[in-house]
């Protein structure tokens, strides 16, 4: 099975590239929402927490988001997906930065 870190050609839309298992059908995954929302420090202000918990940039275009390969390797990872087209531009392990393959 192709385990290479699959970065998306256009044809990899909701065929989600798990950084470990390779491209898999969306039904194997659970959505985790905006990956850019940063959890504040434990001593951060209530305002910071309100922002983290409630406010979203909700971009119309490339969106960095979290997915869990819930029916697969149980890894949480990052996906950059265009919310206008569902094209997946890239994916990365949870602790890596997303790098888009040059087209």
């Amino acid at each position: 099975m192709d385990a290479s870190l699959a970065t998306g050609a256009e044809s990899d839309m909701l065929l989600i590239p798990c950084p470990y298992c390779g491209p898999r059908n969306q039904i194997e995954f659970t959505y985790g929402g905006d990956a850019t929302a940063r959890r504040p420090a434990t001593d951060a202000s209530a305002a910071a927490w309100v922002e983290f918990v409630y406010l979203r940039d909700n971009p119309c275009g490339p969106h960095d988001e979290l997915w869990l390969h819930s029916a697969g390797c149980r890894s949480w990872f990052k996906v950059r997906r265009d919310t206008r087209t569902h094209d997946i531009l890239a994916s990365a392990r949870i602790d890596d930065e997303i790098v888009e393959a040059a087209r």
């Binding site: 909701l14 969306q26 929402g33 979203r56 909700n58 997906r81 087209t85």
Partner: protein, 417 residues
């Protein structure tokens, strides 16, 4: 020209060649007293009530596409006020009351069909929740009845009420005054009504920026030039986040895709709206005969107005689990809309932090039924620069203050409502 059986007859004689325009297509003026962004039901209703209730007629509705082309034109048309939390209950009940007289108010038949909305109950826990909600409705003066399984079997003959069913039906909560409304007619009726009062309803005009100077709104940039105005009302549903961002405001909203679908038209088989929370499914039959169905979100942020197969499979699976007799009917068309999902599942209707800026949005699954009330109340808020009692709770600040209106208790996850 007033619409009626008589005007129809008169025009029949002249082969319908004398009907006037339902609305003009004016080009934007350089200045308006108020501009409403979004030519869906909410935007058009807001304009209509600004003119009708507050005498503001030098106003415009700006629509980037065609009137009603957003969620107004693609929703499953269910109207109801069967809410649990007080603020929601009073707001949606006010809306339902407006629906009851809207056809006459607008002289446009929006076909408010009070055929009843039935929520099925599948477990003792469902039963408690439904009873709690129904009792809250009744104490708030809203019609509600609890139906036994036999009563449901009688009213909805095609429903599988056997105890063998995967989701056995223990009973159901019915709101008799709930029902459906012809969705497109709502946009058209309000557009015609607003236009008749002098409102400029402008299509193919996208707002690309909101100009703020001296800390207050001064106008909007559009694809047809700058338009000066001291008051801007945002009614763009799925695009709320985008438009608010033009004024530097971040909202507690995510845009997700919700799909809906229709079957081929058949002779009447379903006389009420049936919904089931446990299986995430709702269905009604349109006057043309299609079964109109919907269910869950696709569960990922999207502005694409189209979804994927798994949800369609789930919705139809749920349909057939409840209505096994429909197995040989055929799916005619599926589509999607961009849902403005808030973090507590309730809308935001009122003033935004920038003076002169107002919004109605954050509708989640259920803003069509809110159309008249939302327009009525946003118009009030714009005219008085202060909310009406009925929308006072739907503020943007409630999230920071902890005054959430989380009807389902689903928590701060946009896609969970």
């Amino acid at each position: 020209m007033k619409y009626s059986i008589f005007s129809l007859a008169r025009n029949a004689v002249s082969h319908h060649e004398r009907w006037p325009l339902a609305w003009r297509s004016p080009s934007p003026k350089p200045h308006y007293d108020a501009v409403i962004i979004g030519g869906g039901g909410h935007g058009l209703a807001t304009a209509y009530y600004l003119a009708r209730n507050h005498g503001m007629t030098n106003i415009a509705v700006l629509e980037k596409g065609w009137l009603g082309g957003g969620n107004t034109g693609r929703n499953t048309t269910i109207v109801r006020s069967n809410y649990h939390l007080d603020a929601n209950a009073h707001f949606y009940e006010f809306s339902l009351k407006l629906w009851e007289g809207l056809a006459q108010e607008l002289n446009f038949n929006v076909m408010y069909s009070a055929r009843g909305v039935m929520n099925l109950v599948h477990s003792p826990a469902d039963m408690d929740a439904a009873m709690r909600r129904g009792n809250a409705m009744r104490l708030n003066g809203i019609d509600a009845q609890f139906l036994s399984r036999d009563e449901i079997a009688r009213r909805v003959p095609n429903l599988d009420c056997s105890s063998a069913a995967r989701f056995p039906i223990l009973g159901g909560l019915l709101q008799p005054r709930g029902g459906t409304v012809r969705h497109d007619a709502v946009a058209w009726g309000y557009a015609r009504g607003a236009d008749a009062q002098g409102v400029d309803v402008i299509q193919q005009c996208e707002v690309t920026g909101i100009r703020v100077s001296g800390g207050a709104v001064t106008g909007v940039e559009t694809t047809r030039g700058f338009i000066a105005t001291p008051k801007v009302g945002i009614a763009v549903a799925g695009h709320s986040g985008q438009v608010a961002a033009m004024a530097g405001i971040t909202l507690p909203i995510e845009s997700h895709v919700l799909q809906a679908m229709v079957s081929e038209p058949v002779k009447p088989v379903l006389d009420t709206v049936v919904t089931s929370g446990a299986v995430h499914f709702y269905i009604s039959q349109s006057d043309k005969g299609e079964l109109v169905m919907g269910g869950d979100l696709d569960f990922y942020n999207s502005y694409a107005q189209r979804g994927n197969l798994p949800i369609v499979e789930h919705v139809v699976g749920a349909c057939l689990a409840l209505f096994p007799n429909f197995g040989r009917l055929r799916l005619l068309r599926t589509w999607g809309g961009i849902m403005d999902m808030t973090m507590d599942g309730s809308p935001i209707i009122g003033k935004l932090p920038v003076p002169g800026l107002y919004m109605t949005g954050g509708w989640c699954y259920g803003g069509f039924k809110a159309t008249p009330a939302s327009g009525f109340l946003l118009a009030h808020t714009i005219a008085h620069d202060a909310p009406h009692a009925l929308n006072a709770a739907f503020t943007l600040e409630r999230f920071a203050q902890g005054r959430l209106l989380d009807e389902k208790g689903a928590g701060p996850y946009a896609w969970a409502h």
